[in-house]
C-alpha cells in the first residue's frame, strides 16, 4: 500500500499524542481508573493507532515511525488486554487476615507434600542415628558443628552458664538469624524451578538435620531440654521452611503443568501472585522467629523454666495452625456460597 506519508502523519499525529498522554496518565497513577467514556476513547485510540501501524508496516521508508507506533501500540495493548487488576491499595490487615491464610489453604496439597518431605528426612535421619550413631557428623552439616558434642554435656554447660553470653548482642544475633532463615526460605522456594525437585531435596535435607539432632537429644535423655530449646522459635521457623517448600512445589507444579492444558507462561502467570504472598508471609513470620530465638530460646533453666518455654512454643504452634487453617475462612465460605 502506498500512502502520502506527510498527510498521513499530520492527520494521525493528534491521535497518537492523545493516546500517549492517556497511557502516561494510567502508567503514572497506579490507582487511576477511567469511566466508560474514557475506556471507550482509549480503545478507539488503540485501534486507530494499531491500524496506523499496519499501514506503516507496508511502508519501508519509515523505520523510526514504525518503532514509535510499535511502542505506542505495545503500551496500549498492555493496558487494554490486561485482565489482572491494577496494583490495589496496600491493605496490610486484610492481607494478614485473609490473603495469606487463604493462599496457604488454596495450595494445601503442596503443603502436605512439603511437610511429608521434611518428615521423611527426619525419619530417615532418626533411623540412621538409631543404627549408626557415629554418622551424626555426616548428617549434620559443619555450620552446625556446635551440635556434634554430647547432648548431656551441652545441657550441663548451658544450665551452668549465667545466661549473659548474648548480653548486648541480642539484636545483632536476631538480625543475623532473620537474614539467614529468609535466605534459606527464598532458596527453598526458588529451587522449585527445577520441577519442584530442588525444593523437595532442600526440605528433605532440613528434615535430616532436624531428625538427627532430635533423636540425638532424645537418646541422651534430654527431651525436655530439646523441646525447651527448639519449640519457642522452631514452632514458627520450621513451619516457615515448610511453607517456603510449599511455594517451591507450587512453582514446580506450574512448570510441570500436569493435567493443565494452559501454556507454561499462563500457568506461571496464574501462580505468580500466590508465590509472592506465601514467601512474604514466610518472611514476616521469620522476623518473629528470629526475635524469639535470640531473646528467649537461648535461655535455659535455672534462668527460665523449661515448662514455660515449652508452653510458649506449643501455644505459638497452635495459634499458627489456627491462623493458617481458620483465618478468613468465614468470608471464603460466604464467597463460595455466593458464587
Amino acid at each position: 500500500m502506498l500512502i502520502d506519508l506527510d498527510k498521513f502523519i499530520v492527520e494521525e499525529r493528534p491521535y497518537w499524542d492523545e493516546l500517549d498522554r492517556l497511557l502516561s496518565r494510567l502508567e503514572d497513577d497506579m490507582g487511576a481508573s477511567a469511566n466508560l467514556e474514557g475506556v471507550k476513547r482509549l480503545y478507539y485510540l488503540y485501534q486507530r493507532c494499531a491500524s496506523d501501524l499496519a499501514k506503516v508496516n507496508t511502508f519501508a521508508a519509515e523505520p523510526a515511525l514504525r518503532q514509535y507506533l510499535e511502542s505506542l501500540v505495545g503500551r496500549a495493548y498492555g493496558e487494554i488486554h490486561e485482565v489482572r487488576g491494577r496494583a490495589a491499595r496496600v491493605r496490610p490487615v486484610h492481607w494478614c487476615r485473609n490473603t495469606f491464610p487463604r493462599t496457604f489453604r488454596r495450595h494445601r496439597r503442596a503443603f502436605h507434600v512439603s511437610l511429608g518431605a521434611m518428615m521423611l528426612g527426619a525419619l530417615f535421619a532418626a533411623l540412621i542415628m538409631l543404627a549408626r550413631p557415629d554418622l551424626k557428623a555426616f548428617l549434620i552439616p559443619p555450620q552446625f558443628g556446635h551440635l556434634y558434642s554430647d547432648p548431656s554435656e551441652r545441657v550441663a554447660q548451658e544450665e551452668a552458664s549465667d545466661g549473659d553470653e548474648l548480653e548486648g548482642f541480642h539484636a545483632r544475633f536476631s538480625a543475623m538469624l532473620i537474614q539467614n532463615n529468609t535466605r534459606v526460605s527464598i532458596l527453598t522456594m526458588g529451587a522449585g524451578l527445577a520441577w519442584g525437585l530442588g525444593s523437595l531435596l532442600l526440605l528433605f535435607q532440613n528434615g535430616l538435620i532436624l531428625g538427627a539432632v532430635a533423636i540425638d537429644y532424645i537418646l541422651a535423655g534430654e527431651s525436655v531440654f530439646l523441646l525447651g530449646w527448639l519449640l519457642p522459635h522452631g514452632a514458627v521457623e520450621i513451619p516457615c521452611i515448610i511453607l517456603a517448600g510449599q511455594a517451591g512445589l507450587v512453582l514446580g507444579g506450574a512448570i510441570i503443568g500436569h493435567g493443565d492444558s494452559a501454556t507454561l507462561r499462563t500457568r506461571l502467570r496464574r501462580v505468580g501472585p500466590d508465590l509472592v504472598t506465601l514467601i512474604a508471609g514466610v518472611c514476616i513470620l521469620l522476623i518473629w522467629a528470629g526475635i524469639v530465638e535470640a531473646f528467649l530460646s537461648q535461655y535455659h533453666e535455672p534462668h527460665l523454666p523449661y515448662a514455660l518455654k515449652i508452653a510458649f512454643g506449643a501455644t505459638e504452634l497452635v495459634l499458627l495452625a489456627l491462623y493458617l487453617f481458620r483465618s478468613g475462612l468465614r468470608g471464603e465460605r460466604r464467597a463460595a456460597e455466593a458464587s
Partner: protein
C-alpha cells in the same frame, strides 16, 4: 541499529491481528546495567552508613538493626523499588536503555517484579551469575531463571528519533526522482530492516575502512538494484555509494510517494 535481524526479538501478535516486536537485551548490556546498579547500591550503602555512623557507638544494638535494614532495603528493595516506580527500569537499565516488561506484552505487575528479584540469588549461583547466564543462553527470550518465574523479559528501549536523512542525501540531485513509479516500487519492496541498514551504512561512512567500504557499498548497491531497475540514463556514471545515496533519498524523501 535497533532493527538488525540478528538481535533476538519478542514478537507479540494482538487479537486485532497487529504484530509488534521488541528487541531483547543481550548479555553484555545486561551485565553493564548490573554493574552500574551494583556501583549505585554500594555508593548508597557507604553514604548512608557514613551518615548514620554515629548511631553504632551510641546504640550498638539499634545500629546493627539499622545496618541490616539498609542492607536489605538496598539489596532487594533497590531493584524492586526502581523497577516498580520507573516502569521496569533501574538506574543501570535506564542508562543502558533497557526495560523489564511482561513476557506477553501486558502491564508489568508488582508480583512479577518481586518474583524476578527473589530468584536473583539463585541466578547468581555459584558465582558471577553463572546459572543466570546459562539460562539466558539456553532461552530464546534471553530470560534468566528469575525472568522465567516472573514471566518477564528484558527488552531494549532505544530512544525513538527521526533519522538524520539530510546528512545522507546531502542535497545533491537525485536522478531517480525522474522515475516516480520506480521509486514507488523501491519503497514498496525494501523492508524496514534494509532501510535502517542502508541509513546506518551511509551514516557510518567515515568509520569504515576504505577498501571494506567499497566492497560493502558494491554489495549493497547490487542488492538494491534487484528491487527496481532504473534506466541507463538515471544510473550512468553513478558510483555504488552515490547509487545508495539516491536510494536513501528516494526512500526517506517525504511528499514524493505516489498517492494511494
Amino acid at each position: 541499529m535497533a532493527d538488525l535481524a540478528l538481535v533476538n526479538r519478542l514478537d507479540i501478535r494482538t487479537p486485532e491481528g497487529i504484530t509488534f516486536s521488541k528487541p531483547l537485551a543481550g548479555i553484555p548490556s545486561r551485565c553493564v546495567a548490573w554493574l552500574v546498579d551494583t556501583l549505585a547500591r554500594i555508593t548508597c550503602t557507604v553514604l548512608i552508613s557514613m551518615a548514620l555512623g554515629w548511631i553504632v557507638p551510641v546504640l550498638p544494638e539499634f545500629g546493627a538493626i539499622v545496618q541490616l535494614l539498609i542492607y536489605v532495603i538496598l539489596g532487594f528493595g533497590y531493584n524492586v523499588g526502581f523497577e516498580w516506580f520507573w516502569h521496569g527500569q533501574t538506574l543501570g537499565k535506564r542508562l543502558l536503555r533497557l526495560r523489564v516488561m511482561d513476557a506477553q506484552g501486558l502491564r508489568l505487575q508488582f508480583h512479577q517484579i518481586v518474583l524476578r528479584n527473589l530468584i536473583r540469588p539463585i541466578d547468581g549461583m555459584p558465582a558471577g551469575y553463572g546459572v543466570g547466564l546459562i539460562a539466558i543462553l539456553l532461552n530464546r527470550r534471553n530470560q534468566r531463571l528469575g525472568d522465567l518465574a516472573g514471566n518477564t523479559v528484558v527488552v531494549r528501549a532505544p530512544r525513538l528519533e527521526e533519522p538524520d536523512v539530510e546528512q545522507v542525501v546531502g542535497g545533491k540531485y537525485n536522478s531517480f526522482r525522474d522515475y516516480p513509479h520506480l521509486e514507488a516500487r523501491l519503497r514498496q519492496r525494501v523492508t524496514p530492516e534494509e532501510t535502517s541498514l542502508l541509513l546506518q551504512a551511509l551514516l557510518r561512512r567515515d568509520q569504515l575502512d576504505a577498501n571494506a567500504r567499497v566492497v560493502l557499498y558494491a554489495d549493497m548497491a547490487a542488492h538494491f538494484r534487484e528491487y527496481a531497475s532504473f534506466p541507463e540514463e538515471a544510473t550512468r556514471g553513478l558510483t555504488d555509494e552515490q547509487y545508495l545515496r539516491n536510494v536513501a533519498d528516494s526512500l526517506f524523501r517525504r511528499g514524493s510517494g505516489a498517492r494511494g
